[in-house]
Symmetry: C2
Subunit: 321 residues, 2 copies
DNA sequence: ACGGCTTATACTCATTCGAAGCATAAGGAG
DNA sequence: CTCCTTATGCTTCGAATGAGTATAAGCCGT
């Protein structure tokens, strides 16, 4: 009910009205050396971001401005992710309230010509539990599940059962399959259980020891998780990987990029079948023999399909090996 | 580049800094009498909406407050839709800039007890071209495609081809199938072609005659289109229809609700198989014989699946008849 | 030159899933 | 008691999916 709002919070202790600030935050992704990366600032502790200002022509334009200004990286494809408000726990003295409108951008990790080098950081430095390309990381069983289970025990009855269920689904235990798309759910779980630094920072009260994984300022790690989740979902039904690829590539390189993003391996033969039957690529005629085996044909993306089939998909069929 | 921003726009002509306003806008959906409806205010000319204020505990909480205050309707399930900024064409004198954070809410169309009656309006009053349950509406061929084609002709070369393609995909012509999810793309097309009232209002300059379909204030009709599109997509992979159903229902009622939302018919037998094999419902033991044929079994939703399979889906398999 | 290693690419097979249609059951109306 | 209507059960067919086997084409060291 409207009665729930508390007018007193609209003013800071000095009597000035609190500001409502709108920030634009970018998750910019690229793949280099088979590692998915995010563009960061401040030595990897924050995502490119800045306030939305009156002069910006649009949200997207404002975002592009900030990213380019802070990192020198021009953006191609971008899409909106989510709009976050501050978490509940704002210190009383803090006389402003921030809204973060987040975007996902895809780009190639090109060299900056002049200007400072760009600060690309591997996703998995922030989310070491998300890379399952070499099987489930040991830190899940060693460092994550034990404290999560302890957290479960703090509750009784239905609430406990619900936590168990969320953990089982999120981390793929009790015979459930690992679902690489649940990046955000996993992070939120760890946040709620106060296993990530951000939770202690926000919530106060020392708690369980942290688990591995680099924190970020404010809720930037949460936003990054949202971006990764979105990309992992989208890659399955839209040919967005190509935004991250060089103009010419082999099918194995393409597959490695998809695997890097998804954090899991795909069945090679089926992957190729899918790509080719959807006519997403065409041969350049050239081949490449860098990897020691039979030379691979080089391909390029067929931009025609972008228009042709607005519903094309680069699905990945997961395998074990 | 940052240089693109124009600081002069940050101040109105009277020298005061322009305000940045954040609005919460709700698309609240229900199904009554086999018609999908949206909750509106002002005789159907606007969606429930209000500013996000400091006192709101969260975006969601603020939205619930406004909807309940303006319509008396309490909300259950809600999810964020999209965040819009004003369209480019703001009159120079207008000393504020608005951001709209939109949400989709699902509810049953229950009777308001006390308080004013709620203002539910059929989706298809706003988007008459979206209801294909009785085949493609004639207004598409009669009132929409001719001016759209004329609009196409205004351009030459590649741009013209691109418009053609967008129209073909959006409206399912040239042998393409109708895709009910492209609600927003269709509306944007009509907006760009200045065939909806909102475009004239925003853009100035009288143009082609309007096509049928009620307008709304600001960009509320665009937001409604976004909500419909989201719901039509989501219904296929998540059991969200049940939020819109009474506690007990027959399978045909369920099917009719899905059809109302999707704006197209589904294959009855396959629909039932899908619902039952996914164990989304259970029999109540009762039957209902209101429709003149064999009495139908009554079912209720099994909330257990919400937890069990976080990836369950109520897919709809489309048919022609 | 040749066997062995590596990667690329072609084909096969089984299972599931999706779309569509046929058949039967069980009420009410005339 | 027959016809109409709706409910519900079952088959069929083909496409898509997941997984495995087989073959090709380079390089490398001996």
């Amino acid at each position: 009910m409207a009665a729930g709002r508390d007018k007193s919070k609209m003013y800071a202790s000095d009597g000035r009205p609190r500001e409502l600030k709108v920030d634009l935050v970018a998750v910019v992704a690229a793949v280099t050396d088979n590692d998915p990366r995010a563009l960061t600032i401040s030595q990897g502790s924050a995502l490119p971001a800045g306030p939305f200002e009156m002069g910006h022509r649009s949200l997207q334009a404002g975002l592009r401005d900030w990213v380019e200004q802070q990192t020198g990286q021009a953006l191609g494809y971008i899409e909106q992710l989510y709009t976050f408000a501050d978490r509940d726990r704002i210190p009383e003295e803090q006389a402003r309230r921030a809204i973060s409108i987040s975007y996902l951008g895809l780009t190639r990790d090109e060299w900056s010509e002049g200007g400072p080098p760009r600060d690309w950081q591997s996703w998995y430095d922030y989310f070491p539990w998300e890379d399952h390309r070499a099987g489930a990381p040991s830190i899940i069983a060693d460092a994550i599940l034990p404290p999560l289970r302890a957290w479960t025990e703090q509750q009784g009855g239905k609430a406990r059962e619900e936590r168990r269920q969320r953990i089982a689904i999120g981390f793929g235990i009790d015979g459930r399959p690992w679902n690489e798309e649940l990046v955000l759910q996993r992070y939120e779980l760890l946040y709620e259980a106060a296993l990530v630094e951000e939770a202690l920072r926000d919530g106060g009260g020392a708690r369980a020891p942290h688990i591995p994984g680099r924190p970020m300022i404010a809720d930037h790690r949460r936003i990054l998780a949202t971006g990764i989740a979105r990309l992992r979902t989208k890659i399955k039904y839209r040919p967005v990987v190509f935004e991250l690829m060089p103009p010419v590539f082999t099918l194995l390189q393409l597959q490695r990029a998809v695997e890097a993003l998804a954090g899991r391996l795909v069945h090679k033969q089926n992957f190729r079948r899918l790509i080719e039957q959807q006519e997403l690529v065409e041969e350049t005629g050239e081949t490449m023999s860098e990897t020691g085996g039979r030379p691979a044909k080089l391909f390029r993306f067929r931009p025609a399909v972008l228009m042709e089939r607005s519903a094309a998909g680069t699905k990945l069929s997961v395998s074990r090996s």
